[in-house]
């Protein structure tokens, strides 16, 4: 499925594509120049995950009552937060940060002839890099 020209998905942006009417769709993200595609359906309670905020992960080495405490934001721009119930997911691999058993489905993304292309199945990937465009938007 062709998403858009590469230039229309700059770093830090996203596109939501709905290949079939009525389906949840797929969110395509450009995180620091790398492309990732996630199913737009939160495995927690089926919220529209890919419409959520892209953010970082807030971490602290120790509680604030200790001298060692410092609250930091890491992985800036790499974390997706579902608008329903605010569960956090790593965009690059679909891993849920609050429940290790949970993972959102991911799809392969390629750049082909200057277009961002998402494959619904791993087996649909062209055998040779830079092959013909597969599918239509």
């Amino acid at each position: 499925m062709v998403v858009c020209p590469e230039a229309e998905l700059p770093a830090g942006s996203r596109r939501l594509v709905v290949p079939f009417r009525g389906r949840a769709g797929i969110g395509v993200f450009n995180v620091n120049g790398r492309y990732h595609a996630l199913r737009n359906l939160c495995p927690h309670k089926l919220g529209p995950l890919c419409t959520g905020r892209v953010s970082g992960r807030v971490v602290a080495a120790a509680p604030p009552s200790t001298d060692a405490s410092e609250i930091e934001v890491v992985q800036k721009g790499e974390i997706l937060i579902c608008p329903w119930h605010l569960w956090e997911f790593e965009i690059s691999n679909g891993r849920c940060l609050v429940d290790p058993r949970v993972r959102v489905k991911t799809y392969p993304v390629r750049i082909e002839d200057g277009f961002v292309v998402v494959y619904a199945r791993q087996s649909d990937l062209p055998t040779q890099p830079g092959g013909a465009l597969a599918g239509t938007a």
Partner: protein, 389 residues
């Protein structure tokens, strides 16, 4: 149905995605409100209007961060060029109709308000009563009149029971008014005799007493937990069920349901597991200490099961389906549990994915029948709309 991303009604087992007859879905916690608080000014007496214009409305808060966008679902508010503190979503009927009432085929939605939970803990009871009147007039005009699926829980300040009764008498017989709405944050638990004139008025008008989190630790209310002030919002939220327990135990022990035998109480957004333990614990205590409250004629748990209804959001999330089934059984969910979504907040529960694996009979009790009994809904009649109480 409109094209939509994410969960849809068709995904739930037992869910037909079609309106069923007579009533399939009653939502007992839907927040309506104002876009900006200034929209209430035309409904206020001149003295308060001038003070509010000059100094703001001054509703008390407890000082905790919740989440951005006024705790709304970000998929409803993001991408619309709205600044982070803009409250414009609160008055958006079209959004609620399109994204909630029509989408999920909600038959009836209990409007539980938003901005006015703080009135009960304002120092000035006259200003509090004026604010409630203004908000109720706004709600009846701008919300209730637009959609006959709306039932209204009117805002009432408990700080002056006489004025609370007057407001209940003023609006209580309106066909869409079915409840009053009060916060969990209080000076005294709701069984206290101070409140009884309000319960008497609700009993007389057959209105449900709604209780919803709000104002814990704000204004004149006690701290957000029995142990005092926690540091973070998440702690107040984790400890929130104790507020529900304190009010439920108080209402039962002080004999409110003996005095007002038809009174019903709805406790929204405090989880549900607390009611299971409370029923067990109350009965055990009562068997030993019965002579302290000799006016109770039945086990405390029986009062809870008969008089208190518990909103389903946020729905308890036990570790396994077996644990959930046990909890539903111990809760007497077929009697006590009603569906509440908490639209439009981030922690809302949609009607489809939250309740998997219920029997069709229990599903119908939770999603419709118990709430119909509670709110006096007889279902769409031959003439349509809300049947008279």
């Amino acid at each position: 149905m409109t094209k939509r991303n994410g969960a849809r009604p068709i995904t739930a087992p037992g869910w037909t995605a079609e309106p069923r007859s007579p009533v399939a879905l009653v939502d007992c916690d839907v927040h309506q409100g104002v876009g900006k608080i200034e929209e209430l000014f035309p409904y206020l007496p001149r003295i308060y209007r001038r003070q509010a214009e000059e100094q703001g409305v001054r509703l008390p808060g407890s000082g905790y961060f919740n989440v951005a966008r006024d705790a709304h679902r970000t998929d409803l508010v993001d991408g619309k060029d709205r600044p982070a503190h803009d409250r414009q979503l609160g008055n958006d009927y079209e959004l609620m109709r399109r994204e909630h009432l029509d989408l999920w085929h909600v038959d009836f939605a209990l409007l539980t308000g938003s901005s006015m939970y703080g009135t009960s803990v304002l120092p000035d009871p006259d200003f509090a009563a004026a604010l409630c009147r203004a908000f109720n007039d706004y709600t009846m005009e701008r919300w209730a009149a637009r959609d006959d699926r709306f039932l209204v829980a009117i805002a009432v300040s408990t700080s002056d029971p006489r004025q609370a009764v007057a407001e209940i008498d003023r609006l209580g017989d309106h066909p869409q008014v079915r409840a009053i709405m009060l916060p969990t944050g209080t000076r005294m638990p709701y069984g206290n005799r101070f409140y009884h004139p309000i319960w008497e008025a609700c009993h007389r008008h057959q209105l449900v007493v709604g209780i919803h989190p709000g104002n814990e630790g704000a204004g004149m209310a006690g701290p957000p937990t029995g142990a005092g002030y926690p540091t973070y919002y998440i702690e107040t939220r984790m400890a929130r069920p104790q507020m529900a327990m304190a009010h439920a135990a108080s209402l039962i022990a002080e004999g409110v349901f003996e005095k007002y035998p038809l009174l019903k109480v709805l406790i929204d957004e405090c989880d549900q597991f607390w009611a299971i333990g409370l029923m067990w614990h109350m009965d055990a205590d009562w068997k030993s200490l019965r002579d302290q409250t000799p006016w109770l004629r039945r086990l405390p748990s029986e009062y809870l099961r008969q008089h208190i209804r518990i909103g389903s959001q946020p729905f308890m999330e036990p570790k396994s389906p077996d644990q959930l089934a046990s909890a539903i059984d111990a809760l007497h969910a077929e009697e006590t549990l009603v569906f509440s979504s908490d639209w439009p907040h981030w922690d809302w529960d949609d009607p489809a994915t939250t309740f998997r694996g219920l029997s069709p009979e229990l599903h119908q009790r939770i999603f419709a029948d118990t709430a119909c009994d509670l709110l006096g809904i007889e279902g769409p009649t031959a003439g349509g709309g809300v049947a008279p109480r």
